[in-house]
Symmetry: C2
Subunit: 235 residues, 2 copies
DNA sequence: GTCGTTGAAATTGCGCGCAATTCCAGAGGA
DNA sequence: TCCTCTGGAATTGCGCGCAATTTCAACGAC
């Protein structure tokens, strides 16, 4: 039986891989909220059957990243203001706990990983590659979850970060400075000093600022060519 | 197709309803970890097509409540010790935040709901209906999440409580007192007084005690008749 | 020029049924 | 008595293809 688990040769695409590729496309905003995800087009792009793609879309919808409308298909979730606030609020609740745990139990290697992430983000930001910088900024929060060593919290944060990306795409302030990126460095300082309370407070403020920087006026949807976003089949 | 002449008017069973019925069966331990969930049997029980049941099972597996083994089918998740600890640990992280939010922002009506829940649990416990008491005990924690007004946290807690039930089924101490049920009342007292810190600490201890009451020695699986658990189709 | 109408093409929902795999009881051998 | 083997039954994985619905552009009425 020719079972190929996962090869760099992407002839037999994958199952969870497809999920992650789509999530990646969401977090660095290559797909915007409201975009219609044509099932057949996705099948074509990832070279899988409709059935497999259906499963991926189901999982995305269970996680709030995609909305399934009967007879219409899958659309990238575009949260209303209430849901957006709920996402941010959930992050405040969860990340306070994560930061506390990290402040109390993180080791030197963990700090190193955080430091490298911050360095990468700054690098991208100074090079003007804002999109990549945003991606790293999200990964910082996921890193914190990873450092707790709890895979459940880790998955949860991946989901919340992705949903946050969608919310930011929808409601970001047009003249918004890609702001507060100094926060991560300050937070790391507190974590190194095992100052749990200041770290928690800073995370709270960090997310408050993010929320305040949003302006809850929906803007026009954009429909995007899926074949352009996922470069495949050509070299 | 043979139309049901029998009593119940639940003509088209539902989609998310089935999910919730199965979750309910998990939380009050009518289905034990390791139980095989025969797809055709479930289709028969809920009167749905295999396709629909497949979706439900997929969702259960995405949420960690069921394990899908290729060519073998669906099994109620039976976590190992590590995963069990991760579930409890995630609850400590999340519920600390929830309790803090509730302590700061809950109103009189909220306290009433909590009080009623505690009363119901005590009632069941004194009447010797332990299973029901446990169910209410879990609902208390979900109630706290509901009171935050955040549907994301609410769904998350439903999932974590269900997974906790499975873990308890697997690892509960045989001679264990169905313990610490006084904690909920004490917690409510703190919440009423808006004492966030004591409430958070108590929740932490509450979950610590739960974890300590577990003995990580797996016991025998039990296969159960699905048609008995979900009473349907007769009478 | 703007707004309904309409019909064909595109798309999704899903039942059907086969192929592949696993399960299990019973036979045979050590 | 306890393994090992084996063949048929049970079960899952999934492609195929049709029916139902939606989409969209061309058309005609006002």
């Amino acid at each position: 039986m020719p079972r190929r688990p996962a090869g760099n040769t992407d002839q037999p695409p994958a199952q969870g891989d497809i999920y992650e590729q789509i999530v990646d496309a969401l977090v660095d905003q290559r797909i915007l909220p409201g975009t219609r995800l044509n099932e057949l087009a996705l099948c074509e792009v990832f070279k899988v059957s409709r059935r497999e793609m259906e499963k991926v879309l189901l999982r995305l919808s269970f996680n709030g990243l995609v909305t399934l409308i009967p007879n219409r298909g899958a659309f990238v979730a575009s949260s209303d203001a209430n849901e957006a606030r709920a996402i941010l609020s959930a992050r405040k609740t969860v990340e306070a706990g994560i930061v506390e745990a990290v402040a109390l139990r993180a080791s030197g290697a963990d700090f190193k990983r955080l430091e490298q992430n911050i360095a990468r983000e700054d690098e991208c930001r100074h090079a003007g590659r804002i999109r990549e910088a945003i991606k790293h900024s999200g990964e910082f929060h996921i890193l914190l979850a990873e450092i707790t060593g709890n895979p459940i919290l880790c998955d949860l944060m991946k989901q919340l970060v992705a949903r946050t990306s969608l919310v930011v795409s929808l409601y970001e302030n047009p003249n918004g400075l890609s702001c507060w990126h100094g926060d991560h460095a300050t937070l790391l300082k507190h974590l190194r000093a095992h100052k749990a309370r200041p770290a928690m407070n800073l995370m709270q403020r960090h997310l408050d600022h993010l929320e305040e920087s949003l302006v809850f006026t929906p803007q026009a949807d954009t429909s995007t060519d899926l074949r352009t976003i996922f470069r495949r089949g050509e070299r």
